[in-house]
């Protein structure tokens, strides 16, 4: 839980997120407080426990109903634009994340509006694609990629923007065993600080810290092994 050099401090101060549903109010997060600067942070919990809501707070995709979220000193409510430049977000479904028709164009989309010349953009795109094993697919329609390749592209496009924190919300759920392992390893191996929401407990165990959510509350945070054990014992086994 100590801030290593380069890691941003993620801080939630009495954060609640409530949604007005048709007939009643849904509490997605319930008075969550947390300070962490671990390098690889796993987020686990049952369906509907608030994991995605937590992840989305970090990128300003959700705003707290009450409380305050800061990442590396940036207030998520006030500095959304700066926050989004710093925090990359990988969604579960790469189809929803790939916004341009071809592989290279999608990576280039992350680089627009930075005053780079065409040549500079092309160079950076080439580099990013090469690093992610997509060099020979540059001009392929993104939607023709296989499931694993699509998720690779989604991550490549996020990395192209140069984030210092990568938040991934169940990035391996749609993949086969080999691709899931590959993407999991890729995320664990990234130099960037990462928050990984996952149902894959092997992946969670390989992180530096794990957060366990249950019905909107942060139940525990710390060394992954005991957190995973507690999840299995208390949450999954519960009726």
């Amino acid at each position: 839980m100590n801030a290593a050099a380069g890691e941003s401090v993620i801080e939630l101060d009495h954060v609640s997120v409530r949604h007005a549903a048709a007939d009643r109010e849904v509490v997605a997060l319930d008075d969550v407080s947390l300070v962490t600067a671990a390098r690889k942070i796993a987020v686990i919990g049952l369906n509907g426990s608030g994991k995605s809501t937590f992840a989305r707070l970090l990128n300003g995709l959700r705003t707290p109903t009450s409380g305050r979220v800061t990442v590396g000193g940036l207030d998520a409510a006030k500095d959304v634009r700066a926050l989004r430049r710093r925090v990359g977000f990988v969604f579960t479904n790469p189809d929803a994340q790939i916004v341009m028709p071809t592989v290279a164009e999608d990576v280039a989309f992350s680089l627009r509006g930075r005053g780079l010349s065409r040549a500079e953009i092309a160079e950076r795109v080439g580099l990013v694609l090469a690093e992610n094993g997509l060099a020979d697919r540059a001009d392929v329609p993104a939607h023709d990629l296989s499931g694993g390749q699509k998720q690779l592209l989604a991550i490549a496009s996020v990395l192209a923007a140069g984030p210092s924190l990568v938040v991934a919300d169940e990035p391996t759920t749609l993949l086969d065993a080999r691709n899931a392992r590959r993407i999991g390893d890729l995320l664990l191996g990234l130099p960037q600080q990462s928050v990984i929401v996952t149902h894959d407990l092997r992946l969670a165990a390989a992180c530096d810290e794990a957060l366990l959510f249950d019905r909107g509350r942060l139940v525990t945070a710390g060394e992954p092994a005991p957190v995973v054990d507690r999840y299995l014992a208390e949450v999954v086994a519960a009726p």
């Binding site: 341009m100 028709p101 071809t102 329609p141 993104a142 939607h143």
Partner: protein, 198 residues
């Protein structure tokens, strides 16, 4: 013209898409006829689906709106809309989508930018105005010249939508060429003995 299941679902999904393009709402300039992104959907329907599927998707949208579903921009719907000043524009959408599709698809093997541009301007703008303006004039009790003058506010927006249609159509061709149904024609051509080299 036998409808396949793909035709049916594309018609339905495009009708839904035009409805969704209305969700951002309508800019009401002066009040009688709104500026809406739905006309972009109409142009795209023709350009991507071709003349009859494009027109069919607009008809489906309008039938559902008439039946009371709030599918028009700003969440409007109901039979009343078809007795209002925008009724002609909406009928124009049907013909317009068909004209866009005819110009983009006729004899072509792929969408070509100038065909999409021409189609959007002729079908998506001129045809829509040609049907829309007289009806608006009749409903509001305006003279035709006054109605034409009132219609000028739409020109800049509609020109932008036509330009967008070109960019979007070509991008969709790159990303998902199947949607255009051109390959069906290519296959049909292939089955005939080849007479001319391409």
């Amino acid at each position: 013209m036998k409808t396949t299941l793909n035709d049916i679902t594309r018609i339905a999904v495009f009708a839904a898409l035009i409805a969704v393009l209305g969700i951002p709402g309508a800019i009401s300039v002066g009040g009688a006829v709104p500026i809406t992104l739905q006309t972009l959907g109409v142009m795209l329907a023709g350009a991507i689906l071709g003349w009859w599927r494009g027109a069919a998707s607009v008809i489906v949208l309008l039938v559902l709106a008439a039946a009371g579903l709030p599918l028009l921009s700003g969440g409007r719907g109901g039979i009343g809309v078809f007795f209002g000043p925008t009724a002609g524009y909406m009928l124009g959408w049907i013909v317009g989508a068909a004209v866009v599709g005819a110009i983009v698809h006729a004899g072509a093997r792929r969408p070509v930018w100038w065909r999409v541009a021409l189609g959007s301007v002729v079908g998506g703008i001129l045809v829509v105005y040609a049907v829309g303006i007289p009806v608006m004039a009749a409903v509001l009790g305006l003279s035709i010249p006054d109605a034409i003058a009132a219609n000028y506010v739409f020109l800049p927006g509609d020109a932008i939508k036509a330009a967008l249609t070109v960019a979007l159509t070509l991008a969709v061709w790159k990303a998902y060429p199947r949607a255009f149904g051109f390959e069906r024609r290519l296959l049909a051509v292939k089955k005939q003995p080849a007479t001319v080299a391409p």
